[in-house]
Each structure stands twice: as structure tokens, then as C-alpha cells.
Symmetry: C2
Subunit: 356 residues, 2 copies
Amino acid sequence: MDSGVKKPGVTSSRVAEHAGVSQSAVSRTFTPGASISPKTRQKVLASAKELGYRPNAIARSLITSRSRIIAVVMAYLENLFYPDVLEELGRALAAENYHLLLFTGFMDRDSDPVFDQLMQYRVDGIILASTSLSSELSEECAAAGIPVVLFNRTTERDAVSSVTTRNREGGKRIADFLVAGGHTSFGYIAGLENSSTNRDRYEGYVEGLAANGYTNLVVETGNYSRKEAEAAARVMLSRPDRPEAIFVANDHMAVAVMDVARYELGLNIPEELSIVGFDDVGPARWTSYGITTMSQPLKRMVESTVDILMDQIASGEIEAEHRILSGELIVRTSARLPQSGIVERDGQRIYRPREA
Amino acid sequence: MDSGVKKPGVTSSRVAEHAGVSQSAVSRTFTPGASISPKTRQKVLASAKELGYRPNAIARSLITSRSRIIAVVMAYLENLFYPDVLEELGRALAAENYHLLLFTGFMDRDSDPVFDQLMQYRVDGIILASTSLSSELSEECAAAGIPVVLFNRTTERDAVSSVTTRNREGGKRIADFLVAGGHTSFGYIAGLENSSTNRDRYEGYVEGLAANGYTNLVVETGNYSRKEAEAAARVMLSRPDRPEAIFVANDHMAVAVMDVARYELGLNIPEELSIVGFDDVGPARWTSYGITTMSQPLKRMVESTVDILMDQIASGEIEAEHRILSGELIVRTSARLPQSGIVERDGQRIYRPREA
DNA sequence: GCAAAATTTGCATTCGTATGCATCGAATAT
DNA sequence: ATATTCGATGCATACGAATGCAAATTTTGC
């Protein structure tokens, strides 16, 4: 009666035979909304269960030309932000009955093999995150008629959609926050130079500082890598005119910078040095770091991403859509506090100067 | 000449027509080792390029009944160990021309839907990691004739393979290390109670302590979750007879325990409290933590995992294989040091008592 | 109870590729 | 030069499920 053990080759035809109906009937039983009487449906379900039948998604894909697979490209997962994204994407896609084909662990250079695989599997959509090969790759995919969403990255060309947060405003708010905190000299540890997030955060920061009359900004590059961020921090913090406050382009690097500052240079944070990050990733919340940081609304970003994909898949129309969400400046202990502007919300302290 | 833009429906037949050959010829061109003359091969390749043709992996799978997809099940990615595994798996599988279908972000409870999806996609193999539903799920899959490898977990039933490290020996070595370090009272913060890793590490630890004449072990459970580990640490460290040394079942929790010890209870590590972890995950190496920990040889574990799968896929024989690798006790700053037994290797300090 | 409409059902075909088999041509052997 | 072999090629079919269409059945209306 039970079965459990399932022979590899249980096909719809075998079930049909066993249930005394046609193969079409079996197919319709498993196709929501198909025309089938409750009676035969039950018969089929019974036989299916007995034989341990499950529709073959491959065969289905072939004929519907829908794989129900979404490719996710994340070159590296070192930054905890991305595993979080992945987990949330897993949830969101599963809810829509889609599956997640992951491309990771390859060096950024060789985009071509990845692209080839994507095309061969006829994925229904593509999410590009944490990869610098976005631009070229995305254009190609879009040209091939596959919906593409850039996650946490944008591009000028308008063929592909994107989901981001207000990086520019974030950078600006951080500048305001640091100025309000009484700092007078500033540093920036940059992410990947050609990434839109880095560019926008930087520009907003510079703009915000300038608006307050500060132009003495020192810059080093960490390329979103821990190792390089450490090196950058060493250089910046060894300067005679070491800045009082540093905006690090993301939390992943900020953690490294804090370690270097404290343990290699013996600096007290925030008394002697203020650090602000971006992302509000796990370790930022750990007591050892307590990083003051611009949060990215992960859940909403993922929702938007999946939304866009589902829309484009359903409509068949690939029209680039750009969703820009906003985060908050979460105030913790890694930076000196301004006199005012800090409010409490949902048990967190955030920076909200009056005009905002 | 170039093309770039690719019409959705370029099939092998279209290429065949364009090249003036049969569809079979096109197929053979893209099938390594098939019988085809260099001349026609070139003709086909030229046409394929011009039309932007790529073999349809779905259709190929249908007929070969090989999807070249490996399912990876990781219920959660909070513990950085798993993203690392994922990245390495991505690399290793790509090298074998396999792809990675990721199942993540679901609560452990509902294993059934996951199982259903696995079966429907006719994946060629399954890797189960960081999930407690291993036992039931794995049996089912194995019964269905799909190779399964448990990653960092074992099970008694011998239907499924597994790759682990010597958890028991690891626990024992940690006990030896702590005893040699002069500690006299001990604590254990446990992982998931029904997981084999937790059980083995615990048993080895207890055994090692007992061998040295210590039986005064206090235990709390953190279930491999950060939040619960924090709570466990609070309880354990508030005891009047707080232990001098704590073995935390993995680094992910050890980080949390250190934060609580330092910032909530003001304890100095390692002067007043020694902490040892397991995994040697990223944050363990960060200066703020510098966790002394049993390493798990990630790369080799992944290699073995993929090895086992490839073997079983190639041979069609599913014979459970259990690979057990060994790690090292990496000595850092979170625990008091023994007088002897610490040696340097590859720029790292490891604990290697004479008999080992 | 009968005709018309609505619903089920089965047949046959399709998706795009791989592959056994037969055929054909060229290369080798005698 | 002819017989033999071997590689290259094409034909036809198969993989497993979805679906348009027509036939069969049930339901509805009067």
C-alpha cells in the first residue's frame, strides 16, 4: 500500500495504464486548471501515489519552454550580506514555485562559461549580484529575451532592471551624521571602483561633506575585499593627518578596518576614530563591532527583485524597471554621536535629522 | 557575421538546415566523442555561431536522463561555514560541468516539498548540509536511486554516504588542550542535540576530560543558533561555579559566547575564561575573536563530496561511502596556552601533543 | 424524454536532442 | 582492380509530458 521505494521510471503513461485512463488524463490531473472530472482525478491520484509517480519537470519544461528555474549569479559569498540575500531569495522563489540555480565560486574574469550555462538551461530569469561582470553579461541575457535583474547594482543601459537602495542619499546622510558628530577630518575606504554602489556612496558622501564645507577627504581602496580593506586601513590610519572619521563602503570591510584600528594601531573606537559602514550585515550587530551603518532593506529588496522577475516572465515583456528603496542610518557604537537627530524605532536607534 | 542577438528558438534542426546537414550531424558536433568528420564539424560550428545556437540542456536531459544538476540542501546560511562550503562546491561542481540547484531559506520542518522538487527535477545527486531533516529525506532519495552525500553529518543507516571530520577526536584533543592549559573546570555549549556532529564532539570532549580525571562538566545548549548560544552563555557564565574553560560546539556560536562573556559579564579572555570552538570559520580568524578552534578541511571535504557523487553517478552503483578527514587544533588567542605541544605549520600555530 | 449545450476524455502531435541502425563513401588490403 | 573494412552520415524513433482537436459523455433546458 505505502510504496516509499520508487522505481526510477514511473511515467505518466504508466500511471495512466494503471488507472485505466489516458496519459492526457494524468497530465491534466497534475495541471492546475485543466479540464478533468473529480472522479478520474481521484483515480489518477490514487494510482500515482501507489506507483510513486511525480511529474518530470524536465519533460514539462521542454514542452512549456518554462523551466521554473531562476539563475542567481554571485561570484563570491565572503561578504555575509550575500548569504543573507541568498537565503531570502530561496524563500521568496520557493513561494512562487521557482527554483534557484546558483553560480558562485568562480573568478570574475571568465563570464562566458557562466553565460553559456545560463543559456543552455533556458532559465526563466537571472539575478545578478555581487559580480562585476554584470554589464556585459546582463546585456547579452537581456538580448536573448531572458529577464535580468541586477541586485544591489545598476547600469546605465536600460535593457536590464535593477533593485538598489538610495546609495547616494546614504552616503550623504553619513556625511551629515559625521559632521553633526563634530568630526572635522574624513576618510573613505572604497569598494570596487567600477561598481555603481561604490560610486554612488562615494559621491553622496563627498557631496554631503562639501555641503558642510569639508573637502579634506582622504581615500583608499579596499575593493570590497577583507584583505585589501585591512591594507587600506593600515595606510590611511598611519598617516600623520589620520582622519577622525571614516566611512567604509560596506560593513564587510568595516569589520576589517575596525580590527586593524584597534589591534594594530591601538585606537579607541569611537573616542579616537569613528567608523561608519553600509549594509547592516550580521557582524555589524555583534557587540564587538556595533557598527553604525546604513541598512539595506534586504527583505524588501528581495521581494522587489522577485516581483520584477515574475512580472516580466508572466507578461513576456522585458521592460527595464528600476526599484530604489531606502534604508536607515542605524546608530550603534562605532561612531561618535551627534547632539540631536537620533530617534528610536522598532527598538533600534536611527539617525533622522529634522529635515528628513 | 557576429550576431549576439539570439532568437529564442534556434534549434539543432535549424542549424542543420542552415549548414546543409542532418540534425544528427549537429547533435554529434556537440557531443564529445561522437563520430563526425572535421569538415562537417566545422560547417556546423560556423552555422551554429552565426545563428547563435546553444544546445538545449533540457531536451538533452530528457533523453539522456541526466540533468547534470546537483541539489544542495542547506536550510540556513547564518553560519559562515556554509557559505564557504557553497562557494567551494560551486567551484568543484563547475569543474565537473555540473550545476548547483540550491534549496535554502526554509524552516527545517517541511521537508516534503523540498523532496518533491528534488524528485521532479531528476537531479543527478544530492548534497545535504546543515539540515536536521537529513535522516528521513536522505533515505527517501537513496531509495529513489539518487546518490546522496551528507556533508558534515552522518547517519547510522548505511544507505547514504557522508563526509565528515573526526569530530570525536576533535573533542578529545580540545579536552587535552584545555587540561594541558591548566584549566580545572569545564563547560560545553552544545549544538543541535540530535546532530551527529554535536554528539560526537561532545562525547570526545567528555571522554578526553574523563581520561584526565575531570568529570565536572557543565552543559548548556545553543542549537547552533547565535541567539540561543547567547542565552546559553548568559546562564553558564552567571553560575557561581562558572567554568574556566568552555568548548563551544562551533565557531558560529563561539563568537556569540565571546561577545556575551566580554561585554555583558566583563570577563577577560583568555585570562578569566578560555573559549575553544570548532570549524575555523572566517570570524574565528578576525583579530577581535582569534578563536582557538578545530579546523575542518573545507576544500578536501568538498572534494571528497564531489568525488563520491561523481563516482556513484558514473557507475550507477549507490554504495554508501564514508570519508572521514582530520583537521587541526588551530591555536589562537581565545584560550590559555599549554606549556608545550604547540608547533608552527604553514604560518599557523597548531596543537600537536607528542603522541599525535 | 429529447435536443442542445457543456464538460470530459482520448488521440495524435509537439517540444529539441540523442542514438541505434542502415547506408554510403573512402581508405586499406590483397 | 576488386574485396574488405572503417568512419561518416542520415533516417527514424525515443525521451515524458502538454495540448489542440474531435469524439464521447454528462448535464441542462424545455
